[in-house]
Amino acid sequence: MTTISDPPKASFQLSMLIYDTRFRSYTFQFIALILLMLLLGYLGANLMRNLSDQGQNISFRFLQEPANYDINQRPIAYDSQSSHLRASIVGVLNTLIVAFLGCLTATVLGVVAGVLRLSPNWLVRKLMAVYVEAFRNVPVLIWILIIFTVMTAVMPAPSAFRGENATASMLFDAVAFTNRGVYVPAPVWGEGSMVVVLTFLASIVGVFAYRRYATRLLYETGRLLPMGWPSLAILFVPSILVHFVMGQPVTLDYPALKGFNFGGGLHIRGSLIALWFALAIYTGAFIAENVRAGIQAVSRGQTEAAASLGLRPNRIMNLVILPQALRVIIPPLISQYLNLTKNSSLAIAVGYMDVTGTLGGITLNQTGRAIECVLLLMLFYLTISLAISAVMNVYNKSIALKER
């Protein structure tokens, strides 16, 4: 209630704290602050009392102590004598691995499904709708468990590959699907492989350079260079040539039956696969909807205008629709990445040793330091999500600048 007449100045009354709009906000903020302090103080006091009652304290010294447990998937050197801190770092890396793989796969799936949902083909459209609805409406935890069950209960055991009357066989003698995961050939970086890797990296740069050049040529002179096969050629041919010139430094280590399991090769564990695919398929369904919404957000007139200029359908998509749709697609896409990363904490349901499994799981159990572990766990996820938010803000700013 705003007053038009000047309020009397000198006489400040206590009731003005409530009735006067000028002071009221201060009163509220003050009360809110006091209440917050009281709440925090209350919780803190309880915490202190509980801890002292149980003779415990808050201390992060346990991070330096040996963890005493083993982890199956170790991106960095780790054994049971390493510290809890190192175990946590292994967990963090495992989280990042599954998040990275998941985001990549989810994007591919989502873009394909999203574009196909708008396909003129009725059957494909409906099939994609079924995919999107089925996966969006069922909890991701159930999908993780289902894929994990497929991995453990349906796949053959390594022993099925053994002996004369083996019931299972390896794909191309190189890939083995077992109920302990998938064994694929692993690259072995021999002497001189650095050169091959560098060549490959250079080729990637080369591809981008070529595409830029081709685009510029198109805009400036109207000459059209082919894009597809030269890119592929630039990407692979030099590396393969260098590989043979250097005397094949990069070899493949094929998995082979050894003892109880397969030895050699790269072991992608069932838990990783379950988590990776479930997260990718689930998030892919959401991304498909974002992509569809993004494409539909580009007005039909744009398609028609492009068509009237004589562009072919795939060029309309690439040159007109997608660049505009991306602006709408990318912000929700990034938040889907964030969701996927957070959902990767469900690793604990299938025993994948991510940070929730090591720091929030075994370390917590073995040391009993629940508060410290959960706190560190939250800090980790908070850091990741704030970092992703920061990236998103930068992106939003960058597209906002281009707006006319």
């Binding site: 149980q54 003779g55 447990y69 055991a157 302990r180 109880f260 399991n261 073995q366």
Partner: protein
């Protein structure tokens, strides 16, 4: 607005919890129920039967304490806990005692601030493997995939064992025994490791128990026992001596069948008399009445009866007494005297 369901529930919870104070015994008496933490399900040790009634070796300890304190062996609220939640549940007072095949270790006793009230089962960690694997010793498990329950001491023992023998393995961490069983049956791991008693119990639940063997190596000492919070010694005493009463009862020949008769009048053995309250006032010293032990024994039977009923050789679990025989029979069970 549904806000009130929550607030209403909060009020109810607040009312229920309001009376809580330091002395566990008073709490339990006031509540009329003993909150006892057990596993989420391990056949023979603690598992709900088809009607949801909890049964098992660890459950019997809870029931004995409830009988001693509350005169009703059924006045127990069983709280299923996992390896992760059990200690927090006890520390926070959600449960009054934990009877969940928990290994007595130094750090749990000192660092985690719990008091072990005794040992009700002397166990050791073993390995369960399918016969088809053709393994006769744990030392042959080089490179094997091993399923293991996380948050237990077995996880640490396993790491130690393989490191000491300089062989490698692939741990597959699982959360509950049920999951471990599924993974093992599906062949996702070559071996399943946990306490030997747990392995026997797990194997008993298999369709063809005979296809699986428990390897001879016992790689650790696992003294399992009930535990309570540090600092409430009166309550700790009650749990400790209830367990001892069950053990002594077997030694002294008191069974659930004859306990009523023995307790009706002082008999020839003074220790029996003291235990059953016909002589002296041991119960009062603990803040209970003198018939506490009689009720506990009448409710669940003596240690031997509990063992035979739940995990003994006649049950599907089929464990022999072994280390868990009375000291007079060459075992380790040795209750301090009731005096």
């Amino acid at each position: 607005m549904n806000k009130t369901v929550f607030l209403g529930a909060l009020t109810v919870a607040g009312l229920a919890a309001g009376a809580s104070a330091a002395a566990t015994l008073d709490d339990v008496k006031a509540r009329g129920k003993l909150n006892c933490g057990v596993t989420t399900g391990l056949a023979g040790f603690a598992a709900p039967d088809a009607n949801g009634v909890w049964e098992g070796f660890d459950v019997a300890v809870c029931r004995a304490v409830a009988a001693a304190v509350l005169s009703d062996a059924n006045a127990v609220e069983f709280v299923p806990t996992t390896g992760k939640t059990r200690f927090t549940a006890l520390a926070s007072g959600e449960i009054d005692m934990l009877s969940r095949n928990t290994t007595w270790t130094f750090s749990r006793d000192t660092d985690l601030k719990f008091d072990f009230a005794g040992i009700n089962y002397y166990d050791g960690q073993g390995f369960l493997v399918p016969k088809a694997l053709g393994v006769s010793s744990a030392k042959e498990l080089d490179g094997a995939t091993v399923c293991i329950q996380t948050g237990t001491t077995t996880e640490l023992n396993l790491a130690d064992f393989f490191r000491a023998n300089n062989i490698s393995y692939e741990p597959v961490p699982i959360e509950t025994n049920a999951e471990g069983q599924q993974q093992y049956v599906a062949g996702a791991c070559d071996a399943y490791t946990t306490d030997a008693s747990g392995l026997a119990s797990t194997r008993a639940a298999f369709e063809n128990p005979a296809d699986h063997v428990i390897l001879p190596e016992i790689i650790s000492k696992e003294p399992l026992g009930p535990l309570v919070r540090h600092g409430d010694n009166e309550w700790g005493d009650i749990v400790r001596w209830t367990l001892n009463a069950l053990i002594s009862a077997e030694e002294l020949g008191i069974t659930s069948a004859n306990v009523a008769e023995l307790a009706s009048a002082p008999g020839g053995n003074p220790e029996v008399n003291r235990l059953l309250g016909t002589e002296g006032n041991l119960g009062e010293m603990m803040g209970l009445d003198n018939e506490w032990a009689k009720r506990a024994i009448a409710a669940v039977g003596n240690y031997g009866e509990v063992f035979e009923k739940n995990i003994g050789e006649k049950t599907p679990i089929g464990l022999s007494r072994g280390l868990n025989a009375q000291w007079t029979d060459g075992g380790l069970l040795y209750s301090p005297p009731f005096r």
